[in-house]
């Protein structure tokens, strides 16, 4: 009972602390002076450098998903529906969520470790002493870059995933890419794409904010840095599912499903 109370208190403290940390983004991070150079550098690191990993996993996911779905559809005689099923699954759910999870694994851990090591080696203090707001320079830029880059990566990932699916379809039947795409978009509407696209901004924000939070409050030397990186990935991954759940409920309430 005592352990449960301690864990509950810890959970509530962490939630409050993370909320305050995130709220600072809107009070401090969005005010001038803007760290445009650092933001662009972070967009390059967080976005461009994540692209090969996202592309590879998206391609494999599209290919494997097609190969796994096809036998079941053949049994029911609806093999022709394979492209549209894959299209809906990728655009509405699998693309955004899997891309966000891969992104969380790469970016939340790297931000957590980077800021954590800066914290324990007093580099963040040095920045503050030199008259730079470390929250604005380090945190706001990374959170903003993650928020902006994940939607872009998701769209690219969706496209590459569909290409993987096309290869999967062509392993059994000969279909032109134009026909495949036409079939995929036959029943897909803007209402399928838009809510999925919007939630990726929230996924990106959560990944950036949690990675920064865990790194910024890292302690206990090098072990603390490792713990921060690990905790950042776990918490960001859980948060992606929580946001996804909320997003589904909201789109359902709005009648977009």
């Amino acid at each position: 009972m005592h352990g449960f109370a301690t864990k509950t208190r810890f959970f509530l403290n962490e939630t409050g602390s993370l909320s305050r940390f995130t709220a600072r983004f809107f009070s401090v991070g969005v005010k001038p002076r803007y760290e445009v150079k650092e933001l662009l550098a972070q967009c390059y690191i967080i976005g461009y450098k994540s692209l090969p990993l996202i592309a590879l996993t998206a391609f494999i996911m599209g290919l494997v998903l097609t190969m796994q779905l096809r036998p079941s559809l053949v049994v029911y005689g609806v093999e022709s529906k394979l492209p549209i099923m894959i299209g809906i699954a990728i655009v509405r759910e699998i693309g955004p969520v899997i891309t966000a999870l891969i992104f969380a694994g790469k970016i939340a851990s790297s931000i957590g470790a980077e800021l954590g090591s800066m914290k324990v080696t007093e580099q963040i203090d040095a920045m503050e002493v030199s008259g730079t707001n470390p929250y604005k320079y380090l945190v706001a830029t990374r959170v903003m870059a993650a928020t902006l880059m994940l939607p872009v990566l998701t769209v690219l990932g969706d496209a590459i995933c569909l290409f993987g699916a096309y290869i999967g379809v062509n392993m059994h039947t000969v279909t032109s890419y134009r026909l495949f795409i036409a079939q995929v978009f036959q029943d897909l509407t803007f209402g399928d794409f838009l809510p999925a696209f919007i939630k990726t901004f929230f996924f990106g924000f959560a990944v950036g904010a949690i990675g920064c939070y865990k790194g910024y409050y890292s302690s206990k030397g090098t072990r603390g840095v490792g713990n921060s990186a690990n905790a950042a990935v776990v918490l960001a991954s859980v948060m992606i599912f929580v946001i996804d759940l909320l997003a589904v409920q909201i789109t359902d309430l709005l009648g977009l499903n």
Binding site: S117, T121, Q123, D125, A126, V129, S130, G131, T132
Partner: protein
């Protein structure tokens, strides 16, 4: 000589040199972490161009003291007047303005390890003097590196430098804004005696060149001997004693004697 005697002597010295304005005045400083009281009614006055060494055992609150002075930590009670500005009461922008006049040399150097030496030195310049041309920035960077005898390291990464070189580069970064006060957090810790002596000499030479006021945190007695105009012993969270190095060396007080054993 007893601790109290040393303190009284120093007070006489302060009163005798009334024309020398204090740049740092610390009054009734109190800071605790949880139940651990680190600073308990600590008082100190530092005059312009004075080198004050704060001596104390590990964990006695020396680093906490200078972090309170620079505003990295907020004291629970007390005033810290730097150039007549009360640091604990300053807002972020005002604190930044004071910080342009106060340099801080970190114990672990705190160089940005993802940046070259040039970028490390440019960083504070670019934050405060946005309008400087690249040529002017380059001149200031090279001047700072020449001051510490390391112009050839300008395009190297911190990971490529030795401990002594890192300390010098960190000192160059501290000096680049031409601060009027420099706070040194254990500048010779972890260095071999020869390099430590070189750092001591560098501190003295730069102090004379730029007429800076310094607070040096140390428990390295060679550093204390080489750099101190005045020594302050921090013990039990209070200013236990203060005086010159010879005063301390001659003291019969057990708390002071143990640093010379």
């Amino acid at each position: 000589m007893k601790a109290a005697d040393i303190t009284e002597d120093q007070e006489d010295l302060n009163h005798g040199e009334a024309d020398v304005r204090p740049v740092i005045v610390i009054e009734h400083l109190y800071k605790k972490f949880g139940d651990l009281v680190v600073l308990d009614d600590f008082n100190l006055v530092v005059k312009r161009e004075e080198n004050v060494v704060v001596l104390g055992k590990s964990g006695s609150g020396k680093s906490v003291l200078i972090k309170c002075i620079i505003g990295l930590l907020k004291p629970d009670k007390g005033n810290i007047l730097v150039f007549d500005q009360n640091i604990p009461l300053l807002g972020h922008d005002d604190l930044d303005r004071v910080r342009t006049k106060v340099g801080f040399l970190f114990q672990g150097n705190a160089l940005y390890d993802s940046m070259t030496v040039r970028e490390n030195l440019e960083f504070p310049l670019r934050r405060h003097w946005i309008d400087f041309s690249q040529q002017k920035v380059d001149e200031l960077v090279m001047e700072a590196l020449n001051n510490v005898g390391l112009p050839h390291t300008v395009d190297m990464m911190p990971a490529e430098l030795s401990g002594g070189m890192l300390k010098r580069v960190a000192l160059a970064r501290t000096l680049i804004l031409k601060p009027e006060i420099i706070l040194y957090d254990e500048p010779t810790t972890g260095l071999d005696p020869v390099t430590a002596r070189e750092i001591d000499n560098l501190i003295i030479r730069l102090q004379k060149k730029y007429h800076t006021t310094s607070i040096i945190i140390s428990h390295d007695m060679n550093c204390v001997k080489n750099t101190a105009d005045r020594v302050v012993l921090l013990s039990g969270g209070k200013c236990y004693a203060q005086g010159t190095y010879p005063d301390f060396e001659a003291s019969a007080d057990e708390n002071i004697k143990q640093f010379f054993e």
